[in-house]
């Protein structure tokens, strides 16, 4: 086990009495409670954290937050492993297993580093240039490239963790737990508003944790007091480890709470993560700012770090990023940190400042014994797998080049600061405008479109006292606008820190004939030269720059690189930075796992299951199910040795031979009532319903307004002003909406009401030549003889002791009845039917046998009712009433819908009598023809009929006139070609004698 060689002597917020063991690349290490994976590795002297994406260059830690471009880790093992986690954001827990990524065979010896030597072959856009030809090789190239330029790997196992979804409403949501956020939450909370305060870190305080003074005391004391006060308020909710990722319309925000990621072992009731959807009346964004790196030669070497990160690791974690630091900064904040770091055992070798006269703290640094080189820049970071020193030159007068001799200063750490970039992400997601701040040389929030305000550093307010005041004011105002106007309390005073105003040196100039890689985007290996190349090749707009060079397209979304990149482009174009603009900020701010998005909707909970009232009977009796939308329908009931095909063939045969019963409950049922119900129905269907008498059913076809068939089904007049309408299973929802739309919006003058009763009624079809005999045994109060109860009759009656509805309708083409009974009584009626049917060898039949019989009869369903067929195409032309108006009537006559070469419903039989008609096949004259082939039609349904062999239905150009012709059913998908004969779509009993028997 390594020792923690790089711990400061004292200090930091880690608990030095609680050691924590973990491994990195199989090596054991020890850190402390409160460490991040990054700080613990730093404390152990680890410098090399990963390899870069494209060139496989050795990379170390850059930052201490979500902006980290380099230190991406694979954390956890087996099913729990997660790739691409940023080491600064991974809380250390006992037994943590971390691995570096994108290296082979090992981090220190990586074969892929050859890419660095061959980097001239991989300029920006090399993808598009190098691997264009031949096109068919692209799949091979892509495979190799994806392997070489990789991130982590996802687990192959199912996710064993649980996730929760939460919804919340609040008056004021405060995003960010730093000085400004706490100040806002205090003011809003004291005013009496419901407040939600969240921070993505495990603790409160933001950068106050790195040292500050408020009201003359250490900043953290004020933080503790603030949290204590807020915790005592019933109207305030505090959430740590919670990242606000998305700002959507109407102040709906999505946040990810990492409730369990920091635990060694989560108990069963602790979800790994919670996804929150919060509707906030007002939002106060206090998201802070991110320090910018500087762009100079080899600025990606391990040991080149953001100044603020070095400070954070020292002050917050007691971890030293190095021992001898060279500071390279264009603003005063880095001076302050340099002065403060002396106490932590990090010696400052020099401060290199491009400003000719330095800044406000230059004198203080010199007095503290630090060498300050004003008007100088670092042109090159020396070293291999870690920094060993810096090459420094003087800037010329207009900062356009470097002059004089190169001076080398040795050191193991280069701390850089190029200014600060406010985190305007949420503001921009909420469609807020940004404006360019010339002093800060970056974008700050402008006008807002939703109910939010940015405060503190994310608003460009870096002075602590001003940030506290701005937060307090925003908190009080937000509470007041949400209807709470209690006393907001006082605002603490604070010492004003150093100025953040930078002197921009976007890319450090190099001496003539010196070529060094100056990285802009560390994660995607985009250099200043790549930006220049994009400029040369005319990719001038910021959106083109991004896509051509991949600048800002890594998992860090260019947090540290975007401003530098677009500023370099602005320089090259000779325009101001705001004229280049920035790319769009899109949610989420940071990755949200798919597990959290899915939440509990996995496995059986993925979607609801609709079961009929008879579901349990089907299960108990060996039924196999198929899905129809959300419905689970009994498909077939296999007997010993049977498969789906043989079972359904037996069932279909048995029905036509004697009798069978089928659960048809999933068909849609809509109750239509009211004085104008008759008129309403009449307008919905193409055929006439005005004269349908009470106690009769009629088959009907309805169109969409554009003239195509929408659905078919039966309409039964239960009473003078009451109908029940059936729909296909798939169209139950759309037909219901269609009726609601027309009754509520188009014809509000019609006094009619529609309600779905699909689930209230179970429906059982009793079909076959013996169906009447069977039913007569269980129906005692209704004459169901052919004379007493003709085809398409309806009556209410008692079936096996249950009051229900009796319809004489048939989908199978046999003599058949359909009974509807209240869903909770379905099983008793079904069982009574099975018992009564024993003497006729009654069998239950499923959806598959039903499907076979309807194809035998040429009845149309989804494949034929595909939204592109007309009533005439399907052979319903005689049903279309010419005496009334109905939906779709006008459009029905459109030229294209009455054209002579429409595709029409046909039957299909294989010429050889044995080959199956391939499912979904195209109907073509010549299957050997070269593409494009004239597609004359398609197979819409197919089956093997136990009565007539393999058959199919199709729609075919002018099909009705082509009965007897031959054509090929060709399926390139299954590589089947079968020659078929075009025939009438009714294969069984075309005259319809059986249903009327």
């Amino acid at each position: 086990m390594s020792t923690q060689s790089h711990r400061t002597a004292t200090g930091g917020l880690v608990d030095r009495t609680k050691p924590i063991n973990f491994t990195f690349d199989s090596q054991s290490y020890q850190g402390f409670q409160g460490d991040s994976l990054a700080s613990a590795l730093l404390a152990n002297g680890v410098r090399l954290f990963g390899r870069s994406f494209k060139y496989h260059r050795p990379r170390g830690l850059v930052s201490a937050g979500s902006e980290e471009p380099n230190a991406l880790m694979q954390v956890g093992i087996g099913a729990y492993t997660e790739p691409n986690l940023r080491a600064p954001q991974v809380e250390l827990y006992d037994g943590l297993v971390a691995e570096s990524q994108n290296r082979w065979p090992s981090l220190s010896f990586d074969v892929g580093e050859i890419n660095n030597k061959m980097s001239r072959l991989f300029p920006a856009g090399f993808y598009y240039k190098t691997f264009m030809w031949p096109a068919k090789m692209w799949m091979t190239y892509e495979h190799v490239i994806r392997n070489a330029a990789g991130l982590g790997r996802s687990p192959m196992e199912d996710d064993p963790d649980t996730y929760e979804h939460h919804h919340a409403h609040t008056d004021v949501l405060v995003v960010g737990g730093g000085a400004a956020g706490l100040s806002a939450a205090l003011a809003a909370g004291r005013s009496g508003a419901r407040v939600m305060l969240v921070t993505e870190s495990p603790e409160w305080g933001g950068r106050l944790k790195d040292g500050a003074t408020i009201d003359g005391e250490p900043g953290l004391q004020w933080v503790q007091a603030a949290i204590a006060e807020l915790s005592g308020m019933d109207n305030v909710t505090l959430k740590v480890r919670t990242m606000v990722g998305c700002y959507y319309d109407h102040n709906m925000l999505v946040m990810l709470e990492k409730s369990g990621d920091h635990l060694t072992k989560r108990d069963h009731y602790t979800p790994r993560q919670r996804l929150w959807q919060v509707r906030a009346k007002r939002v106060v964004i206090a998201a802070g700012a991110i320090e910018r790196p500087l762009v100079f030669g080899n600025n990606d070497k391990p040991g080149v770090m953001l100044m603020s990160a070095v400070r954070t690791y020292a002050k917050r974690f007691g971890a030293k990023a190095g021992s001898n630091a060279i500071v390279f900064a264009n603003n005063d904040t880095a001076y302050q940190s340099a002065l403060d770091l002396k106490d932590d055992g990090i010696a400052i070798q020099a401060i290199v400042d491009p400003r000719a006269d330095g800044g406000a703290l230059t004198q203080a640094a010199i007095e503290a014994g630090i060498e300050v080189l004003t008007g100088h820049v670092i042109i090159n970071a020396k070293g291999g797998k870690t920094v060993t020193g810096a090459e420094i030159m003087a800037l010329n007068a207009d900062a356009s080049g470097v002059t004089g001799e190169i001076r080398i200063i040795k050191g193991d750490l280069i701390c850089v600061s190029g200014g600060w970039t406010p985190s305007v992400h949420l503001h921009s997601q909420a469609k807020g405008k940004t404006i360019f701040d010339d002093a800060l040389t970056t974008f700050v929030p402008g006008a807002t479109m939703q109910a939010h305000v940015s405060v503190g550093a994310c608003n460009g307010t870096f002075v602590l006292s001003a940030a506290l005041a701005e937060g307090a004011k925003a908190g009080a105002e937000a509470a007041s606008k949400a209807g709470h106007s209690g006393k907001a309390g006082s605002v603490p005073s604070a010492e004003d820190g150093p100025s953040v105003t930078p002197f921009p040196v976007w890319d450090v100039p190099l001496p003539p004939h010196v070529h060094l890689k100056r990285f802009v985007d560390l994660q995607n290996d985009v250099t200043a030269d790549d930006v220049a190349l994009a400029h040369r090749e005319n990719y001038l707009s910021v959106e083109h720059l991004k896509r051509y060079t991949t600048l800002g397209m890594g998992t860090d979304q260019g947090r540290t690189s975007n401003i530098n990149g677009l500023a370099i482009m602005a320089q090259l174009r000779g325009v101001a930075i705001p004229d280049v603009g920035h790319t769009t900020f899109r949610p989420p701010f940071q990755a949200i796992s798919l597990g959290a998005i899915t939440g509990p909707s996995v496995g059986d909970h993925f979607e609801p299951i609709r079961r009929t009232g008879l579901h349990d009977w089907h299960v108990k009796n060996g039924g196999k199910f198929t899905t129809a939308g959300l419905w689970h329908r009994a498909d077939y009931y296999p007997q010993a040795g049977e498969n789906k095909l043989t079972a359904s063939l037996r069932e279909a045969k048995a029905v036509r031979a004697s009798v069978g019963i089928c659960d048809v409950s999933s068909l849609g049922k809509i109750d239509v009532q009211g004085p104008d119900a008759a008129e309403f129905i009449n307008r919905l269907y193409v055929n006439g319903f005005a004269k349908l008498p009470v106690g009769k059913a009629r088959y009907g076809v309805m169109l969409r307004e554009d003239g195509h068939v929408m659905d078919d089904g039966t309409v039964t007049r239960l009473a003078e002003n009451r109908y029940v309408v059936t729909t296909t299973t798939a169209n139950a929802g759309p037909v219901m909406t269609h009726m609601e739309y027309h009754s509520q919006v188009v014809w509000p003058e019609l006094d009619v009401h529609v309600v779905s009763v699909t689930e209230e009624w179970s429906a059982i079809a009793i079909a076959g030549p013996n169906s009447r005999k069977l039913l007569q045994k269980v129906v005692t109060d209704l004459d169901i003889s052919n004379e007493g109860f003709a085809f398409m009759a309806y009556a209410s009656c008692t079936i096996a002791g249950v009051i229900g509805r009796m319809f004489r309708i048939s989908f199978s083409g046999e003599l058949a009845f359909e009974v509807a009974i209240p869903a909770d009584k379905a099983v008793s009626v079904w069982e009574a039917l099975m018992i009564a049917g024993q003497e006729y060898n009654c069998i239950p039949y499923g959806a598959e046998a039903l499907g076979i019989m309807r194809i035998e009869k040429g009845h149309v369903v989804g494949g034929e009712l595909n939204g592109r067929t007309t009533a005439t195409d399907l052979g319903f032309e005689k049903m279309i009433s010419s005496k009334k108006e109905f939906i779709g009537r006008f459009m029905l006559g459109r030229e294209g819908l009455v054209a002579a070469d429409r595709m029409q419903l046909v039957g299909l039989k294989p010429i050889d009598g044995t080959s199956e008609v391939p499912r979904g096949a195209q109907l073509v004259a010549n299957p050997q023809a070269l593409c494009p082939v004239d597609m004359e039609g398609e197979v819409t349904s197919n089956c093997i009929s136990p009565h007539v062999g393999p058959i199919g239905l199709g729609i075919l150009r002018q099909g009705r006139d082509r009965h007897g012709e031959k054509i090929f059913a060709h399926s390139p998908v299954t590589n089947q070609t079968v020659e078929v004969e075009i025939c009438h779509p009714h294969f069984i009993d075309p005259e319809g004698d059986r249903v009327r028997a």
């Binding site: 109407h250 102040n251 709906m252 109910a451 609601e740 739309y741 509000p748």
Partner: protein, 95 residues
């Protein structure tokens, strides 16, 4: 996610609704109206920027249709009404 003021149910999130299109189009009353009128009713839709009256269906709620005046650029909701009433309210929506 929009917050839609249903005239029957109050403010509800928009995943309870489905969008049904332009609320200003009217089905020709005369079934033998010119083809242009039917074409306009069935197929032609404007795509305005700014306030627009839309028809929404509270499909996972009360199953009533409603008119919603929404700014198609800002997504601000300026009011709502039952299908045959005029939108008068200027309240509601965000900001």
């Amino acid at each position: 996610m929009l917050l839609i003021p249903c005239p029957w149910c109050g403010d509800r999130p928009h995943n309870e609704f489905s969008y049904t299109g332009d609320a200003t189009i009217k089905r020709p009353v005369d079934a033998n109206a010119p083809a242009e009128d039917w074409n306009a009713y069935v197929f032609l839709r404007d795509d305005p920027k700014g306030p627009h009256d839309e028809l929404w269906h509270h499909v996972n709620g009360c199953r009533r249709f409603l008119k919603v005046r929404r700014d198609t650029y800002t997504h601000e909701i300026l009011g709502s009404a039952k299908p045959h009433e005029d939108i008068t309210s200027n309240e509601g929506g965000a900001a």
